[in-house]
Amino acid sequence: MNDDTATPEAADAGNELGRRGFLKLAVGAVGACYAAAIGYPVYKYLASPAEAAAAMSAVKEVSLKDADRIPAGTALMFKFGTRPAMLIHHADNTWVAFDAVCTHLGCTVQFDPAKGHISCACHGGEYDPTTGRNIGGPPPRPLRSFVVKVETGAVLVSRA
């Protein structure tokens, strides 16, 4: 690569420019090494919490202790990895769990048993509380749903 850049200049104006070109390249290369040696630690330093969170959100299953006792017709907010999620115990004794982040612009949604849907206060998004399907307002996609397994003393929530 040195030769490629140095040769045309050397041909143009003799040895002097070739040497100068080489020097410029060498200074540039050393400068790039310094920039990398400083930039990499600084990047890793600043990215540390994001990387730790990525490791945390790699969880496959969450066990919610005593969640089997929440009354029918109510919801329980919990963390799946680092994200908010929602476990709903419906009045007909069915159980569902959804990612509680609105697919529109990321606000946390809430279960509204009176109106019979999941709603987002930010921009009026609405979801079906049994399937997570987007049924009103701006959300473009349904809420991601989890697999729910109710046991005595705990509810297991896992990725679908």
Binding site: Y34, P41, V42, K44, Y45, L46, S48, P49, E51
Partner: protein
């Protein structure tokens, strides 16, 4: 390839006047003589200050003052990737900055660069040194480990020993009768807001004065006829050499910070006795030893009072130097001022070494 950068430069130049700055920098010269080496130390101090700012801002991203101070520094040191390195670089560059400022100050002293019209250069420089020491003292507490706790405790006993107002000054600085989370919180405010707000404008004035009056030459150079004095252009010659010195400083810092990572120590505990061999940082060692000696020579608070008075008097004399060093003002060698400089340097070195030997 040739056209676009030129026209971009021309576009910027028309709007920002870059050529004027460049023409000025090329016209400006720096004296060249056998003591020129000492001209780089102000620049090195400046570079280390810039590193302090950068690494300080990085630490600010994770540091939490108050009751969680130690825990947050523990996280920075052991959990955040390269956090140990950022912290180590901040501590080491702070220490190196003080070394560079001391070298700069004594070189200015022995080159008699404080003479008319450069008095304010001397005064702003001394003020910057004192602020740097307060930076050091306040930053030292922030990890809230045992050493920091006792260093701050002892340091604040010194104003506390002043008659009448001493105790209330100490309590005000501490935020209570003991070094606590309140102390950390206010030292943090001092360290990252108050001190930079004072330091940066003062540094601006200091640099402006250097630009305004140019580099001073020592009397030995002044004695030479004008034709025998040599100079180099500020740009690019001096700037390149300056940058080379910065690069050396950066490499020294990188080796120290990576090879000798700054220790975290144990969390401060009010009920734990002071660890054996505890001592202040090297830049307070001299005053520490003087106070210790005076305490041994005179009974009770008299010794400490005498030590404080002596140190303050020395500092005032040092500060007022440009006003009474009249023989060198008229271009003579001013032996008396030189001896005063050697005395000051000698006292600092001897008491510092004595302090370390006594540990």
């Amino acid at each position: 390839m040739n056209n676009r950068p030129t026209s971009f430069y021309a576009w910027m130049d028309t709007r920002l006047g870059l050529s004027d700055v460049l023409a000025f920098a090329k016209k400006k010269t720096v004296p060249q003589h056998r003591h020129s080496f000492w001209y780089y130390w102000g620049g090195i101090s400046l570079f280390l200050f810039l590193l302090q700012a950068v690494t300080g801002i990085l630490l600010l991203v994770y540091y939490r003052p108050g009751p969680e101070a130690y825990e947050s520094v523990r996280q920075i040191t052991y959990q955040i990737q390269f956090g140990w390195l950022v912290r180590s670089a901040h501590s080491w560059s702070g220490n190196l900055m003080l070394v560079a400022i001391f070298v700069h100050m004594f070189s200015v002293f022995f080159m008699k660069a404080y003479r008319t019209p450069r008095e304010f250069g001397w005064w702003t420089g001394l003020a910057l040194l004192l602020l740097t020491m307060v930076f050091g003292f306040s930053g030292y507490l922030l990890p809230m480990n045992e050493l920091a706790f006792f260093a701050t405790k002892v340091g604040l006993e010194i104003p506390g020993s002043l008659p009448l107002i001493g105790e209330s000054i100490s309590n005000l600085v501490r935020g209570g009768p003991e070094v606590s989370e309140y102390t950390v919180q206010r030292f943090f405010a001092l360290h990252v807001v108050v001190l930079p707000a004072l330091f940066i404008p003062l540094l601006g004035l200091h640099l402006w004065l250097v630009q305004k009056h140019g580099n001073a030459v020592p009397p030995s150079e002044e004695a030479k006829p004008a034709a025998a004095r040599r100079t180099v252009p500020f740009f690019p010659n001096f700037v390149m050499k300056d940058l080379a010195m910065w690069l050396i400083a950066l490499n020294v810092l990188a080796v120290l910070a990576a090879m000798f990572p700054w220790d975290l120590g144990n969390q401060a505990d009010l009920l734990k006795p002071a660890p054996a061999g505890i001592h202040p940082e090297w830049y307070f060692m001299s005053s520490f030893q003087v106070l210790k000696l005076f305490g041994a020579w005179f009974p009770g608070a008299v010794g400490e009072g005498a030590g404080i008075v002596l140190f303050t008097l020395g500092l005032v004399l040092w500060f007022l130097l440009p006003l009474y060093d009249s023989s060198s003002a008229s271009g003579q060698r001013a032996r008396r001022a030189t001896w005063f400089g050697f005395l000051a340097l000698g006292v600092l070195l001897v008491t510092t070494i004595w302090g370390y030997a006594n540990l």
